[in-house]
């Protein structure tokens, strides 16, 4: 691990100011950052420790939503009575990820900012445009079994690894931040992540020093909620394909549908065309197949991940059957 300076932040304002200094990273749970620092994939010159800031509450807000402190550990969020009661998809997504030990440490804000588990991002002897911009991408001709089929570019085919963020995408979460100039921002999760394009090292819209303080969820949408995750092991593995689904059926027709996907793209994936195709229709396998065709209309495999295209199709259809049964 490269040597770094360490400072403990005594307030969110101080953290955001100090975080704007070049080559600085915030550290909260540290479960992903320290892993990457040991491998020298991340080499920050300075860490600002935000783990003791008072951003640990889960509160109800006006309008029936909840506000989640950025430092709430993943375990606590999954077990929170209000989340279990109203946002089952979020509890389920969190519980489908990582291990008990990691969930006890990993923070809500940090989970959103997890880096990809692409082998070539982790292996510093490989070429990776995300790790070393302009160096190339060894994944496209390599072992790309776990990598993306949607939203890729010629420069990067990495997937976003989070389960939690997939549920939050389906729930239309808002990310609340504090800038180094003291300005608060509210960023819809749909605007938070960036496609790789020709800058795969830039993964989100946060500015230098901008600190995630809270994540807000609007009032829980109507309908059944589920999180279906397909992976190589029964536990403690990243998603090959996952679906966060919230579907309401009224009078034999689908009244509303929200569907977000993990394991398929460089960000928690959502495609309103798929949802629009379902609304107003009677549930049927023919309809679900049509929705899957829409989702995968631009899908592209890179060899060893070709199987994700039929797997995503079957996982979506199974999820829709479950939610409309």
């Amino acid at each position: 691990m490269k040597l770094f300076d360490y400072a403990k932040a005594d307030s969110a304002e101080t953290a955001a100011r100090e975080g704007a200094v070049a080559d600085t990273k915030f550290i909260a749970g540290g479960t992903n950052l320290l892993d990457l620092m040991k491998l020298q994939v991340e080499t920050p010159a300075r860490l600002v420790d935000i783990s003791r800031l008072p951003l640990n509450d889960i509160e109800e807000v006006d309008g029936g939503g909840v506000r989640i402190g950025a430092l709430v550990p993943n375990s606590d969020l999954a077990a929170s009575p209000i989340i279990r009661e109203r946002y089952e998809v979020l509890s389920r997504a969190l519980l489908a990820g990582a291990s008990g030990q990691l969930r006890n440490k990993a923070s809500t804000g940090g989970n959103l900012l997890q880096r990809t588990r692409c082998y070539y991002f982790y292996e510093t002897a490989s070429r990776c445009n995300k790790r070393v911009p302009g160096s190339g991408c060894d994944a496209q001709q390599g072992f790309n079994r776990i990598l993306a089929i949607l939203g890729t570019s010629e420069h990067c085919i990495a997937t976003h690894p989070s389960d939690m963020a997939v549920a939050m995408r389906a729930l239309d979460a808002t990310i609340v931040t504090l800038g180094s100039d003291g300005e608060k921002r509210r960023i819809a999760i749909g605007d938070f992540y960036r496609l790789p394009g020709d800058t795969p090292d830039v993964e989100h819209v946060l500015r230098p020093g901008e600190l995630i303080t809270h994540i807000e969820l609007p009032a829980a949408p109507a309908g059944k909620q589920t999180y279906r995750k397909v992976r190589d092991r029964a536990s403690y593995a990243f998603a090959l394909v996952s679906v966060a689904g919230i579907v309401a059926v009224d009078g034999g027709k689908i009244a509303s549908a929200r569907l977000a996907f993990g394991g398929l793209g460089p960000m928690p994936w959502r495609d309103t065309a798929v949802e629009n195709a379902l609304v107003g229709q009677a549930p049927s396998d023919a309809l679900f197949t049509q929705a899957a065709d829409l989702l995968l209309r631009d899908a592209r495999g890179f060899g060893s991940n070709d199987f994700k295209i039929p797997l995503a199709r079957r996982t979506l259809i199974a999820t829709l059957r479950e939610l409309t049964a």
């Binding site: 540290g30 479960t31 320290l34 077990a79 990582a98 291990s99 030990q101 403690y236």
Partner: protein
């Protein structure tokens, strides 16, 4: 840096990069916690921090100076085994034993999580899930045993869980 570990005060001079695991093993000679992968994948380093199980390899010692840290050395001793230690011996919950301190610290934290009513990935309902053997396997998936003593590890944990919470265990049968 100053720490409270197993109820005792400790002082150490350590590089800022020192993980909690390296602090315990290399600076304080508390070598019960083991280094397996050093990347949070195997669970051999599991310790309890403020009562919660975490991977000691994936956290910086400097971030834990105000915390209450418990390692395997603080749970029991050869003359006075913790109930989980005794159950691991009785059920032969190991072969080489390298993962065992982490397994036991993890099981202690896990049983507290169950007592608090936390659900898991395999829980049929998110409220008051039954504590089945499938639950034990899922909740312990962050601890790898390369000797594959898993069936006996589950039996050891089951015995301690049943002794602690007979009502919940009956409901699971």
């Amino acid at each position: 840096m100053q720490f409270t570990i197993n109820g005792q005060p400790y002082q150490a001079e350590a590089d800022i990069r020192t993980s909690l695991l390296d602090l315990l093993r290399e600076h304080l000679s508390l070598t019960g916690s083991k280094k397996g992968c050093d990347h949070g994948q195997c669970g051999a380093c599991t310790v309890l921090v403020n009562g919660r199980r975490i991977n000691a390899c994936l956290t910086l010692a400097v971030m834990h100076q105000d915390d209450d840290i418990v390692t395997i050395e603080g749970l029991g001793s050869p003359n006075k085994l913790h109930p989980l230690q005794a159950a691991f011996v009785k059920h032969d919950g190991f072969q080489c034993g390298y993962c065992t301190p982490g397994q036991i610290c993890s099981a202690v934290g896990m049983l507290d999580e169950v007592e608090k009513g936390w659900p898991s990935h395999v829980s049929a309902t998110l409220n008051d899930p039954d504590f089945t053997d499938e639950e034990i396997r899922e909740r312990m998936s962050g601890n790898i045993c390369r000797c594959s003593a898993y069936p006996n590890i589950v039996d050891a944990i089951r015995e301690v869980a049943d002794a602690r919470e007979p009502v919940r265990a009956e409901a699971a049968e």
